[in-house]
């Protein structure tokens, strides 16, 4: 039997609130399946399991706030016999999941570290129960901008199911549906600001940053993108960001001192390259979820994944592995703003690469001055684990890779 625990989704996270179970006892789960949604300072995070097997028991009810490390459910590994006969429940009809609120109160272990402010467990009964919403219904509502609070559910126990949302969509928009659409309720920008403040203050307190910058001529990248995108429908078009991210990932593979974590006083390099992509959120939020195995992704796949990641992050649907796994962060200003950006390292990572806005500048090419598109790249790195010499080689490597986009 394996406990599925409240994960730590960042050094600053102490507790999370369970807001949705996507499984019920008896369900079979695979590695990577999303089993629950937890609300944290960073928004609602979809939690994946790394343990395949069968859900034996749900231990924490909806709306319970529990410390990191608390067992949330028990998973029986494949081939393992049930530990004890399940509490003599009548064979529940599969559609009607037993409401998790009815489970015994969770066993509360001491918080893993001495956190004096570990918030007390919120008694499930003390909180007005949120309506249960099936994941499919939630997704449909989000993509079509339907306010779930305005719906009544026809599912088991009044749960809002897909059909309820579909029905709401079919109705002609009532005049009352016109007022301003609300941001996804999952995003609490004030809480996100607190999380950013904690992580960045810790970074500036603990990490001796050094900074390097380098300018590259990305005119070849622009021509390459224009030629490629000319034949593609908008769904498949690439952005400069896909090239800079891929180039950074390839360079990170060659310079492991910038890809990994600083833990217990030393560098832990990572074999995998999971670039964290800094994503600005309207209204003043920022998150940098991981694009898994960035170095392995062909550009079109990388671009698809990036679009998906940006959309989900802005809708407040990041997955737990995406929050915890980033090995190196990339922050890009895109088409607007200014020429250079010097990032602050997201602990426990050891570097962050910044890309400014591409600008037209006079540039010497083959002995003659001409207008070229210039991109300023920067590296902020942790001086405890690397030096300016290595940093310069790493940054120059990214620049070299951008000279030949065909090879990305």
């Amino acid at each position: 039997m394996v406990d599925f625990r409240m994960p730590s989704l960042g050094a600053d996270m102490e507790a999370g609130t369970l807001i949705e179970w996507l499984v019920k006892p008896g369900d079979i789960v695979k590695r990577g399946d999303i089993v629950a949604v937890v609300e944290t300072q960073k928004g609602a995070i979809e939690i994946e399991t790394f343990q395949p097997g069968q859900i034996e028991q749900i231990l924490v009810g909806l709306n319970s706030k529990v410390p990191v490390g608390t067992p949330l459910a028990r998973i029986r590994a494949e081939g393992e016999a049930p530990a004890a006969p399940p509490p003599a429940a009548p064979p529940a009809p599969p559609a009607a999941a037993p409401p998790p609120v009815a489970v015994p109160p969770p066993i509360m272990p001491a918080p893993p570290t001495a956190i004096p402010t570990a918030p007390p467990l919120v008694a499930p009964a003390a909180v007005p129960a949120r309506p249960r919403i099936s994941p499919a219904a939630r997704r449909l509502a989000e993509t079509r901008g339907i306010d779930l609070r305005a719906l009544s559910g026809s599912g088991p126990g009044g749960a809002i199911v897909y059909a309820d949302v579909a029905l709401a969509l079919a109705k002609p928009a009532a005049p009352t549906a016109a007022p301003e659409r609300k941001r996804a309720p999952a995003l609490d920008l004030d809480a996100m600001r607190v999380a950013i403040a904690a992580a960045m203050a810790r970074s500036k307190r603990e990490i001796p940053h050094y900074y390097l910058s380098h300018q590259v001529d990305v005119t070849p990248c622009e021509h390459w993108l224009a030629a490629k995108n000319a034949y593609l429908p908008p769904d498949n078009r690439l952005l400069m960001g896909a090239l800079t991210i891929k180039a950074t990932a390839l360079a990170a593979r060659r310079f492991p001192a910038f890809n990994g974590f600083y833990r217990d006083g030393k560098l832990e390099t990572s074999k995998a390259v999971h670039l964290g992509v800094a994503i600005a959120i309207r209204g003043g939020g920022l998150a940098s979820p991981a694009l898994h195995d960035t170095d392995q992704l062909p550009l079109d796949e990388l671009m698809n994944r990036m679009r998906d990641l940006v959309a989900r992050t802005r809708a407040g649907r990041i997955r737990s592995s995406e929050l915890a796994d980033a090995t190196l962060t990339v922050s890009s200003l895109g088409e607007r703003g200014v020429e250079a950006l010097y990032g602050i390292i997201y602990p426990p990572q050891v570097a962050i690469v910044g890309f400014g806005k591409v600008v037209a500048r006079p540039w010497v090419v083959d002995g003659a001055i001409g207008p070229r598109s210039i991109l300023t790249m920067t590296l902020s790195a942790d001086h405890r684990v690397s030096d300016g010499h290595g940093g310069a080689l790493f940054l120059a490597e990214i620049g070299k890779l951008l000279e030949d986009p065909d090879k990305l």
Partner: protein, 84 residues
């Protein structure tokens, strides 16, 4: 499709990207990226959505013509007329 209908469709799609922007107060001649604080990914999503709703091919080279609400309305009206 009338110009007013095209404009309404564009406003809907822009509001999907930036729900908090009041379209009634948006200067139709302003650069959308500046006026609405949208980035290149947002703009690509906007173009993609318009492409799907109107069935009009919008090559990347024409993006500068769609950078204002007035410009985009005019561009799409012309394209729809050509399409017949």
């Amino acid at each position: 499709m009338t110009d007013a209908e095209i404009r309404k469709l564009l406003q809907e799609e822009l509001n999907n990207i930036a729900p908090e922007v009041d379209m009634a107060n948006l200067d139709p001649a302003a650069d959308l990226r500046e006026a609405m604080d949208i980035d290149s990914m947002d703009f690509l999503n906007f173009i993609t959505a318009v492409h799907h709703r109107l069935g009009i091919d919008i090559p990347e080279i024409d993006y500068p013509k769609l950078i204002t609400l007035d410009g985009a309305t005019k561009y799409l009206a012309t394209a729809l007329a050509k399409k017949g």
